[in-house]
Structures are given as C-alpha cells and as structure tokens.
Amino acid sequence: MARRNSRKMASVAYPDLTLDARGSVSLIDEEAMLEGRQSFWKDVWSGIFSNKAAFISLLFILILGLVALVTKVFPQVLPYDPFAQDLKNTLLGPSAAHWCGTDLQGRDIFCRILVGTQISLTVGFSAVAISLSIGVLLGAVSGYRGRRTDAVVMRVMDMMLAIPSILLAIALMAALGKGVEKAVIAIGLVSIPEYARIVRSEILSIKESDYVAAARVIGDSDSKIIFRHILPNVLPSIIVRATLGISTAVLDTAALGFLGLGVQPPLAEWGDMLGRGRDEILRAPWLMLFPGLAIMSTVLAFNLLGNGIRDGLDPKTRKR
C-alpha cells in the first residue's frame, strides 16, 4: 500500500515539478529542482512535527544516539563497568542501586542496556546503508536499462527473496563468524532485494515521463539521468522504506544475538542479553524484561517515525 501511495506521490506531490517540465527542458532548470527539493524536505519535517508520535519518536531516537555516543566516548559516566564481572552481586533484582537488576555475571543491566544502544544503532544504520546503496543502485540500473539487465538482476533478487531473510542472515553469520561488522554485512545483504524492487518499480513509471525524455534529448548521460533526474523523485519512498528498514535491522540484530550468533562476549547487545537470560526466566525475569523493552521501544520509535514521514509525504493525508 505504502509503495503504491508513494509512487503516486512522485507525480502528485510535486505537481509544480512535473508540470513545469512537461514538454520542455525547463525542469532541468536548477531553480525548479531546488524548489522541489526544498518542498520535499519541508514535507518530511511537517510530517514529523505535525505528528506527535513521530516527533516523540524522533526525540527518543536522538536521545538513543546521544546515549550511544556518550557511553562510547566517556564510558566513565556509567556508574558501573558494563563488562566487568562482579560475582558477589549476581542476579540482584531491580533496586535503587541497580535500576534494572544485575545479570548472571553480576553486571548492571541498566548500564549494559545503555551501552547496547551502540551496537543496535550501529548495526541498524550501517546495515540499512549497505542495503540501501546496493539495492538502490541495482534497482535503478535494472529499471532504467530494462531488458536483459533487468531480467538478470530481478531473478537474482527473486532468489534471495525465496529464502526467509532471517534464515539467510543466520546462514551468513554462521559462515562469517560472530562480530558487529559481520552482523552489519549479513543483515545489510539480506534486505537488498526490498530496496531494489521498490526503486525499480518506481523507475519504471518515472523513466517514461517527459522530463526524462527531455533530458535524454539534450544528451545527458545515463548515469546523469539516473542520479540527477530519476533518483530524487524516488527519494520519498526510499526515505520511508529506510526508516522502517532500520527497525527491521534492529530486530534482526536482536534475533541473531538471541540465537547466539551476534556478538562476542562480553560485548553488550540487547538480543544477546535476552538470550542469555532465558534460562533464568522464572528466577530473574528482569534479565529479559528490560533488554526486550529496549528492543521494542527502539523498533517502535523507528516505525512511528517512518509512518510520520510517510504521512507527511503522502498527498492524501497531508494537510496543506
């Protein structure tokens, strides 16, 4: 549904852009493009600011980012060392001293959750960066060139889509070994087809438009047409998809960690913490309660933010 909406958006949301261009080369006019882009970002922001949930989510994500940064650069602000074992204080329940209790090694869970934002956000953003850049490129080339290139690229995407992404990620992690950067690669690779398909289908409808024909007439190269004229119009759906994609990536990271395929101990990763606490579920439910809450609220925030941006860009729901 979202996809269909956003495709319409390319032509409907910025009527000024397409109308100006019709039949003339004027669209390639910098001014018109700049105007289009400015109104695009205005829509993104108005989507976020007019939607309370999206705005709170953005704030929450910014705070998470800040937490990740501060705990990385100034680990001394944490009241406890999140990695050092303290076998005298294992499995303590939540208290004033340990807000979220302590784990099997006596480490403070709250501190570990704070430090865990580093991995979740790093993997989330980097994995999406990988799938986004490769997926958009493949989708763009495939949709623009058509014919054989399209057939080959899309068949390969079909092959990847025929394997559940979590299964593919698990197999990749098993092959590559544990580690943050490997999780980034595994999770990034498995989402490529989604982006490729979105971009391809948008490009198929955009490439027949007059302004692309006009650009071709004045002799622009293929790469210039793709990057200057086509991709900016696909941007709305890519941004929405990428924001929602981060939430999927955070979930996948946690799933890999939960299965014991994520990071090397003693690194703090939410899914890994949850998985390790599983056997003590009745004795110490806080071991899995708080990391789970952290995962869910982060995923929820990215979902709400993505929905807010989508509504802001969607001419049907936008208030003008």
């Binding site: 549904m1 068949r155 390969v156 079909d158 092959m159 990847m160 889509l161 025929a162 394997i163 559940p164 992404s165 979590i166 299964l167 593919l168 698990i170 197999a171 990749l172 098993a174 092959a175 590559l176 070994g177 939430s247 979930l251 946690a254 799933a255 939960f258 299965l259 014991g260 395929l261 899914g271 949850l274 998985g275 599983r278 579920i281 009745l282 439910p285 899995m288 789970g292 995962i295 869910m296 995923v299 929820l300 979902n303 709400l304």
Partner: protein, 339 residues
C-alpha cells in the same frame, strides 16, 4: 490458465537453482572448514582429510555442486555429518511439527487479523480503530522471541495454565501417523492427547501469529477503508441493502484481494519466524533444528532446509497469484500470460 501455471512452474526452476547456488556459496565457499567442528579439536590432520574425502569436500567446488543437484533431483539431499542419517529423513521427521505450528498460526492470524481490520475500518477513527492500530503497531515492533518468552513467563511461569514448551507430554505423544499431532490424535480417537496437544500449541501459535496478525490487520483495514469509499458500496447502500450485507459481502470481498496476497506472503515469512519461535518453545520442528545445524556446521542439512523452504515459498507465491486471478474478475488469464 493452464499455460500460465505451466509457465510459472518453469520459471521456478531458475529461481530454485539460484537458491541452491546462494546457499552453496555460503556453506562451501564462505564458511570455514567444517572438519574440525564436526570431528572435534583433537582430530588429527589425517582423520580430517579422510573425513573430507568421505563427505566429498575435497572435490572441486563445481563437482560438489553438480553432485548435490544430481542427488537432489533423485530426492537425495546427502547425509547429516552427525547423525549420518539421510537429510530427507531428518527433515521429514521434524517438518510436520513446523507445518502444524505454521498452519495454526496463519489461521489464527488471518481470522483475527481480518476480523479486527474489518471492525477497525467500519468504525474508522473510533476507539476500536485506534486500539487495533495500536495493537498492530506493537505487534510489528515486538521481537517474536521476546513476546514468546513473556507468554511463557505469564501463562506457564506465573499462572501455570499452559505448558512452557514441547509439542505434547511424553506419555501422550501419538506415535506413527502423519506427524501432525492434531490429525493423529483425532484419527486415533485419543481425546486426552488431543487436548494436551492443543494446550501445547496455544503459546507458540500466539507468539508466531502476532506479527502476521498485525500486518494482516493493517492491510485489511486500509484495503477495507478504500473499498468502503467505492461507488459500488454506495450503490449497494442506496439500493437499501443492510449495512451488514454491504460491509460483509461487497466491501470485504473486494478488500480481500490485497489481503490474500499478504496472507500468502505471511505464510512464507512465518517459516522464518518459526526458527525463533521453535527455539523459544523447544518446539521440535525444522526451525530449531536448522539453528542447531547452523551452529555445528552441518552443511547438508542446512542446504536441504533452505531448499525446502525456498520451494514452499515459491509455491505459495504461485498459489497466491492463481487465487488472485480467480478472485478478481478483472484479471483475465490472457493478460496474465503476457505478464
């Protein structure tokens, strides 16, 4: 129609071949040598070399692939490195458990999801609508393994209402038959065992269904909201048909088209979700087994499972497309032939 189905069946072949190539690249090229993992740290170089020889791992990679495909065409997917049993048999023993869970989950998700989505659409912007959309949002944001553990904590740990894992109490487990316990216990007329099997199914089904249910609810709602605004719905209302008939017959039926696709796709993704659910609930299906095999580099099993799931996934997509063509009178087989 037949031509279309045949064409689609033929198109499955390159996709499935590609899937085998992808998984072969991952297990045989990217993965480290399985010999030390399988034989243990104390194995000598000679033992490892012999083991590799025996399992065809010292052949060039293309020959290994040709052998695998040749075997697969004859229904032979190799032998597990550990149990030495044929992969087909290993998977066959566990597959019914996964199928039973996935079918229950998709049924629950579809029935509840469509109902909830329909109610939300009819009562758009009312409390029910907001509540169901909030539920859908939480449903897609909750890690499946976390909701599973929470369910265990609440219903097994605190309330003691339901078992925390497994498919049935060992004493009541039906032997022989299809491996689908619900079916087996009904055929055997063993009602006590059926009750036990159903009790064991509840928590994993709910955990697995939650995500798909959320997606189906959202899809049904938005699709139904669209169809409620269509002219034919207004016409039907104007004709004096009751709201109930119009909503149920006219609007919902049209709205079901995209929902069918989503349900089909969800069935595929349930197989992925089953990997996590089965691990949480100690459910003896292929999902849990796959994770175990991945962790101990049992390549033939991993290849077999991935191939099987890919076949199911591609087949579901085909079936969904065919159902779609049947449901939507606007789609003519002829036009599908071209596409």
């Amino acid at each position: 129609m037949l031509k279309y189905i045949l064409k689609r069946l033929l198109m499955m072949i390159p996709v499935l071949l590609g899937v085998t190539i992808i998984i072969f690249l991952i297990t045989r090229v990217l993965s480290p040598d399985p010999a030390p993992v399988v034989l243990g740290e104390h194995a000598t170089m000679e033992q490892m070399a012999t083991w590799r020889q025996d399992n065809g791992l010292s052949d060039p990679i293309w020959l290994q692939y040709v052998n695998f495909i040749g075997g697969a065409l004859h229904g032979d997917l190799g032998k597990s490195y550990y149990s030495k049993a044929p992969v087909v048999r290993e998977i066959g023993a566990r597959f019914p458990a996964t199928i039973e869970l996935a079918i229950c989950a998709i049924l629950v998700a579809s029935v509840l999801g469509v109902t909830l989505g329909r109610v939300a659409a009819v009562r758009k912007n009312k409390l029910v609508d907001h509540a169901s959309m909030l539920f859908a949002l939480i449903g897609v944001s909750m890690p499946i393994f976390w909701s599973g553990i929470l369910l265990i904590l609440l219903f097994a740990g605190i309330l003691h209402w339901l078992p925390s894992g497994g498919r049935a109490a060992p004493m009541l487990q039906p032997s022989g038959g299809t491996g689908l316990f619900i079916l087996d216990t009904i055929v055997q007329g063993n009602w006590r065992a059926l009750g036990d099997v159903l009790l064991h199914l509840i928590l994993p089904t709910v955990a697995l269904a939650l995500y798909s249910m959320a997606i189906i609810t959202r899809m049904t709602r938005s699709s139904m909201v669209n169809s409620l605004n269509e002219d034919f719905v207004r016409t039907a209302r104007a004709k004096g048909l009751s709201r109930r008939v119009v909503n149920g017959k006219h609007a919902l039926r049209t709205a079901m088209l995209p929902v069918t696709t989503v349900i089909g796709l969800q069935l595929g993704s349930l197989l992925g979700g089953a990997i996590l659910t089965e691990t949480v609930f100690a459910w003896p299906g292929i999902g849990k087994y796959t994770v175990e095999c991945v962790l101990k580099s049992d390549f033939p099993v991993i290849q077999g499972v991935v191939l099987l799931i890919a076949v199911i996934f591609v087949a579901i997509n085909l079936i969904v497309d065919i159902i779609y063509a049947f449901l939507d009178p606007r789609i003519k087989y002829g036009s599908l032939d071209e596409g």
